[in-house]
């Protein structure tokens, strides 16, 4: 108990004193996971909407693949992204391995299927006759898509939360493709692993608390947006 208590006190001190290293790690985590989430939204929402609303041969297979992708183990993603970015790999010439960009790529691969899969589910839970009604009201194709996305905004925001939650907390892929280099690719999760391994529980607890607070802050913000005007 003593250990935990001391750790919590030290963590509070580090957080409130504004420790430079910890601030840097936190900021890098936000940047990397934020970028990966935004990129996954740019791909996942249109892809999910398209898969949900159109009919084409092979559609079920596509959806099954997306759903499988929602459960990709981060270490497997880390492994394959590493191979692709390896010096002798297909994208080795880009020299991206052990850079923040490499982590963004890996986290994007993890988040994109989550966002796509939840977008498909969000769009499919809409009443199929709503499309007809909106067309009948004079919606153009673009207006129709916008209105349908707006109708599905609650589960779509849940998709964003799940995507961000999936990558901010992920450690395996970040470690493998980022290398946990101090000042360059060290993020909250990889730093926590390292400090715990070294027995620096105070720093590890501080990092863990920050990670929790960060996740809470982002989800609280999204929940506020989601539940706006929903007192009933």
């Amino acid at each position: 108990m003593e250990l935990i208590w001391q750790g919590l006190v030290q963590a509070a001190r580090l957080i409130f004193a504004g420790d430079r290293a910890i601030f840097q790690i936190t900021w890098l985590s936000i940047q990397i996971s934020g970028t990966a989430t935004v990129l996954s939204l740019l791909l996942g929402i249109p892809a999910g909407v398209a898969l949900a609303l159109t009919r084409f041969p092979g559609r079920s297979l596509c959806i099954a693949l997306v759903n499988t992708g929602m459960g990709l183990p981060p270490v497997v993603v880390g492994l394959f992204v590493s191979i692709f970015l390896w010096r002798s790999g297909p994208l080795g010439a880009l020299e991206l391995l052990y850079t923040p960009t490499a982590i963004v790529i890996a986290q994007f691969v993890i988040a994109a299927p989550i966002v796509t899969g939840l977008t498909i589910a969000a769009m499919q839970q809409l009443n199929p006759r709503l499309r007809l009604q909106l067309l009948a009201l004079g919606a153009s194709r673009a207006q129709l898509l916008w209105l349908l996305i707006r109708e599905a905004r609650l589960p779509l925001l849940a998709a964003i939360m799940a995507g961000f939650g999936g990558v901010i907390s992920e450690v395996g892929a970040s470690m493998m493709v980022g290398g946990n280099i101090l000042g360059q690719t060290r993020v909250l999760t990889t730093a926590t692993v390292l400090e715990t391994g070294k027995g620096n529980f105070d720093i590890a607890i501080a990092l863990g608390v920050i990670l929790l607070l960060l996740t809470f802050a982002v989800n609280y913000l999204l929940t506020r947006i989601q539940q706006r005007g929903r007192s009933a």
Partner: protein
């Protein structure tokens, strides 16, 4: 003759090889309410979707003011924006009542002062102004359908397409909304295609009635014609004729026909030639019943038949009485008359009906 506002020619829709719509010609005239009635699955909603440019027919053409139009492309959208539809489900967006009523106008990018004015007007006319800021998911069925109707009217459509808008409502709410709709249609003269499976709704709203069965429009005309002079046995059954009996015309004198049914002679009006085989149609509300032992009351009815009550079923305020009098005749009797006459199974009675109440269908 003026060009109809909406017209369909040789419209056919097939789903998986099965014809769900087969309509050689349908016309919607400016300012009229065309009620399309028929049983569920007859193709009424498909007809409405095709006319409303929401679905391309497998074959055939839709004409808007004489010009062919199709659902696709910017022209399809432009024409579709002159229509408004209300479906059985209100299908409202998950926002406020006001935003829903304004939606059609917003999609058309009308100026915001116009949107506000029209929205306010139609919320008031549909009696939902006090609900303006309410989220639609908190509305009752009736309130939601009022919102859906206001949303359609606010557009100021050239053609209003209503697909069983009251089918999911409870009877008092349905009646209230039907009255309101009737008043608005009469006042604003909206050209309307009104699809329903309810005969009473069709009679109340329709200037003309089209009867649809098995993907086809079988008979179109003024309500009294379709309901009083159904063209076929199946139409007759659908429009509420309960006594339908095969017979043969055996005599004609000054337009008054004598028809033999089951060995019983009935007088009828019509233009069927002597010797022709016919179906004799009689609506239950046109039949009068009295006790056989009562003193005969002289009336203008041509046909008087003696028989016995076979059975009686209470339908709300009326009894549906089946009388066997050489031929089976079904009559409607108010509950009060039924009790006053002391009717019951086996009671000897006389039924009477006018020659003009008989409608003959050639076989």
């Amino acid at each position: 003759m003026t060009v109809p506002i909406l017209e369909g020619r040789d419209l056919r829709v097939h789903y998986q090889g099965q014809a769900v719509l087969d309509v050689p010609h349908v016309v919607v005239r400016e300012g009229e309410v065309l009620a399309v009635i028929g049983p569920n699955g007859a193709g009424k909603s498909t007809l409405l979707r095709v006319l409303g440019l929401l679905e391309a027919p497998t074959a055939g053409t839709v004409l808007y003011r004489g010009g062919p139009v199709s659902p696709s492309g910017s022209r399809g959208l432009a024409i579709r924006r002159r229509f408004a539809s209300v479906f059985q489900e209100p299908l409202l967006c998950d926002t406020t009542v006001e935003a829903n009523v304004a939606l059609g106008l917003r999609l058309r990018r009308r100026p915001s002062d116009e949107v506000a004015a029209e929205t306010k007007t139609w919320m008031e006319r549909l009696g939902i102004a006090h609900l303006a800021r309410r989220e639609t998911r908190t509305l009752s069925g009736g309130e939601a359908q009022r919102t859906s109707l206001a949303r359609a009217f606010a557009i100021g459509p050239d053609v209003l397409l209503l697909d069983e808008p009251f089918a999911a409502l409870d009877p008092p709410t349905r009646d209230e909304l039907l009255t309101l709709l009737q008043r608005i249609l009469r006042h604003n003269g909206f050209t309307t295609v009104f699809v329903t499976h309810d005969r009473n709704e069709a009679i109340r709203l329709g200037d003309r009635i089209s009867l649809m069965m098995d993907a086809r429009l079988l008979q179109t005309g003024p309500p009294l014609e379709v309901f009083g002079r159904p063209a076929t046995e199946e139409i007759a059954r659908f429009v509420g004729v309960e006594t339908i009996l095969p017979g043969r015309v055996i005599k004609e004198q000054n337009g008054l026909l004598t028809v033999e049914v089951n060995g019983v002679k009935i007088e009828a009006l019509g233009t069927v030639a002597v010797g022709e085989r016919v179906l004799v149609c009689l609506r239950p509300e046109d039949v009068v019943i009295r006790r056989l032992d009562a003193q005969a009351i002289l009336d203008s009815a041509r046909n008087h038949l003696a028989g016995r009550v076979e059975d009686a079923t209470l339908l709300g305020a009326q009894y549906r009485v089946r009388v066997s009098c050489g031929l089976p005749v079904i009559a409607l009797v108010t509950k009060q008359s039924f009790d006053n006459l002391g009717l019951g199974r086996g009671t000897p009675v006389a039924v009477s009906f006018k020659a003009s109440a008989i409608h003959l269908i050639r076989r």
